[in-house]
């Protein structure tokens, strides 16, 4: 664990997942991947080291954005695309709160793209969970900025001609300091990522590949199904080589700037030749390469923390500036406010 994570030190009453469950009926489609994400959050939250009244979930609009209604904490179901902006206001107003953003690929990357990249740039301490199902769920199945080119949807009956965003690349390009990826179906891993995000000081971006079984069923099957997962997913762990395959028989090495899959069985390459993951590399270039794995079908999908670097977080800088000025000038009051500048008396 790096030094840019905070460790909860308070003695808090021990809560359980149930304490985070609201009475409201969960209204996602039966079978939707969102259920698992919710369950993992409810399981992870008791260990955030935070009183539950200090945890806030903010969302935009979309199936995924219903998330706050189901967490028994403070929650704000915002308007489409604006969750990072609303959340920024919450966090700036009260930096003691732990602020999560629950958002979809349309919400965060289509209409909300600008707020997202600016949050990353500022490094404001929001934990942004992108429910990426590569489709517009709530509006019943249009393509999204993460849908693959050629996709036939309600708004692209002849196939989309849009080239998709790579969300993790966008985050890197915008200067994000914590980038992770997980799967709706991998309960334990997802909990780990939530826990890691909870500890990062600064914008933490977690892309969760989420199945929309109604409008984009099976989009991530390769990564989640038992028989294909091992061959198509590489789990990133700090300090460990990039190994995958049913019997850990494959690895990834860097050939110049080009990652390639090598066999660990034919004697040509061994563990020593592989790319060893360094989450905390302050040079984001490797993370950039990792972010682009998904562009190449021959490479497995990396899950885990792609990168985590330290940069002072926005809301703390704001607080520091205020206290510095206060120290220098003294705390302002009505009198000093009114009599600042040229005044004169009419007697």
């Amino acid at each position: 664990m790096s030094n840019n994570e905070v460790i909860a030190t308070q003695n808090l009453p021990k809560l359980t997942a149930k304490d985070f469950t609201t009475g409201q009926d969960v209204r996602w489609c039966p079978g939707c991947g969102d259920y698992s994400i919710l369950a993992q959050m409810q399981r992870s939250a008791p260990d955030f080291g935070m009183e539950k009244e200090k945890i806030v979930y903010v969302s935009g609009i979309g199936c995924s954005s219903r998330f706050p209604y189901y967490m028994d904490t403070y929650g704000f179901h915002g308007i489409h695309g604006r969750a990072p902006a609303i959340a920024s206001g919450v966090k700036l107003a009260n930096p003691e709160l732990m602020v999560w953003v629950a958002t979809g690929d349309g919400d965060l990357l289509s209409i909300g793209g600008n707020h997202f990249i600016h949050a990353c740039r500022r490094n404001i301490d929001l934990k942004i969970m992108l429910f990426n199902n590569r489709i517009y769920g709530l509006t019943k199945g249009q393509y999204s900025p993460t849908s693959e080119k050629g996709k036939k949807t309600k708004s692209t009956p002849f196939g989309s001609v849009d080239y998709p965003f790579n969300p993790t690349s966008v985050a890197i390009g915008s200067g994000a300091t914590f980038i992770a990826r997980s799967l709706d179906r991998d309960a334990k891993h997802l909990q780990q990522m939530m826990s890691r995000a909870s500890k990062h000081v600064g914008t933490a971006f977690v892309e969760i590949l989420q199945n929309c079984n109604i409008f984009n069923d099976g989009a991530f099957e390769l990564y989640t199904e038992k028989d294909t997962k091992a061959d198509n997913v590489v789990v990133l762990e700090h300090g460990k080589p990039l190994v995958f395959g049913k019997n850990n028989e494959k690895g990834i090495r860097l050939h110049g700037f080009t990652p390639e899959v090598v066999s660990l069985e034919d004697g040509k390459y061994s563990l020593e030749d592989l790319w060893v993951h360094d989450e905390f590399d302050t040079n984001p270039t490797r993370a950039y390469i990792l972010s682009r794995f998904s562009e190449y079908p021959e490479l497995p999908m990396p899950i885990g923390v792609l990168m985590q670097v330290h940069r002072s977080s926005y809301e703390l800088d704001v607080e520091t500036q205020i206290s510095t000025v206060k120290e220098k000038r003294g705390e302002g009051d009505l009198k000093s406010l009114f009599f600042d500048g040229n005044t004169w008396e009419v007697a």
Partner: protein, 612 residues
Amino acid sequence: MGKEIQILEDVTVRFAGDSGDGMQLTGSQFTNTTAIFGNDLSTLPDYPAEIRAPAGTLYGVSGFQLHFGSTEIKSPGDSPDVLIAMNPAALKVNLKDLKSNAIIIVNTNAFDQKNLKLAQYEVNPLEDDSLKGYTVIPVALTQLTANALEGTQLSNKEIGRSKNFFALGLMYWLYNRPIEATLAWIDDKFKNKPEILEGNKKALLAGYYYGENTELFTTRYQVEPAKLEKGFYRNVSGNEAVAIGMVAAAIKANLPLFLGSYPITPASEILHELSRYKSYGVKTFQAEDEIGAICASIGASFAGSLALTTTSGPGLALKTEAIGLAVITELPLVIVNVQRGGPSTGLPTKTEQADLLQSMFGRNGEAPVVVLAASTPADCFEMAYEASRIALKFMIPVILLTDGYLANGSEPWKIPATDQLKDISVPFRTEKEGFYPYLRDENLSRPWAIPGTPGLEHRIGGLEKANIYGTVSYDPDNHEVMCKLRTEKISKVVNDIPDLEVTGDEDAELLVVGWGGTYGSIADAVNRVRKQGHKVAQAHFKYLNPFPKNAGEVLKRYKKVLVPELNLGQLSHLIRSEFLIEVEQLNKIKGLPFKAVEVEKKIIETLGGKNV
């Protein structure tokens, strides 16, 4: 050499020159000195649309107008009595505004071939008789300043820049003002540049003594101090006053102030001002755009700040969706819109009053908000405070309209006694027992239960919510109840705002009704026609939604109602719809404030054209 002293009741002066001539600074110094001297006053700067237009061009002229007097001053004056023209372009652009027989002080050194050409003068106007009818006082400002600063270490360029202080000194002499305040200001401002400090002081004094010694001036003018209410005063522009009003509201509400904003002319200075108030704990957030700005403010409101967002017309257009969110989540929020010339980018540096209907109706669905408007630069303080008070008390968004004229114009603001400000604090909800997020108190307000409060965890959002309980509700009847509740909340505000005041003649046949920043011009006009013997009354709306309780009764009391507005009839529209009465309109949409004379003419016309 004794000169005649003439006593005047009020004077309007205008300083005009290139952007590089320092006219805004000169104007502010004159204003400051005049205020300290004890006159009432009102100012209006007029910047070119360009940041730094090329020297000498007509479109690059920068102006600063000041109206001061020994009586109450309500507007920056229709037509200057004195123009200081630093170059031919300044003369050309401003000439048409002057009073006949006005004094024109020109910098003759600037009337060279190049500048005359840039100003599109074929013949030097100082040399033909195009200025007949004015009292032209030619002063070789550049040369005289250079003479005065001979022997200093200053470069020619620096010397050239000091000529505005020479002009200022001359004006101080002419209007018999003390120069100490400006000397002190120079001392402070240039303390790190001792040569320039000395130069500017020398230029100022040289100008003053030039007035004393030259034969150009035979008369000196005296404007006695005004009989202002006792107390401390400070000169504020509308934008400054909004900033101070919001900080004061936050202090009295015992809340941190949060501003989410995005720069836009003419509202940016509110952001600038508030970003200076760090020692008051004010947080200013320059967001990526107007939508991000208001959304951050909504988030901050949810988290327990006094939340503000500031903008101008195009920005307000962008914020409309989010204002709806504030309406349905019933969160307090102050939205200040400094109106400018539209539509679209329109005339961005000019004033207008054309966002009233946008403020009233520019949202999807039934999304009523409270709409207020400030009437003078100093009144911006009071109305910002009022906007905060109402937003907090009723848990609603409030739009406060000002405009480019109020924003940049200034006047003395009587500093209120700190204990004279209404207590506007509202308690956060902390009691768990019986808590529901959409419970209602006697104002129909819901409780403000902020994150961090144990036991009050709840969720809000843009989907319709069940009254009291706050859960998502698709129930048809509940939706109707909630739509009506949100409207009723606004009507409740009626009991919390002052009645519409009428000034002027009790038995008037005509009521002149304005709103917002046109107050001064209308008041001047009404005073003038009353002095001519007409019976006229005036009422001015500062509360536009809801209208004050007595508004209908007042409007129906008069045979005729005249509504002057800087738009094509927006308040008229609201009055017609609300009260079903015919009104006369005076609409001007030229990016400029009313001149009192324009309103005066229309009043007389409406009265049937008879001059008493």
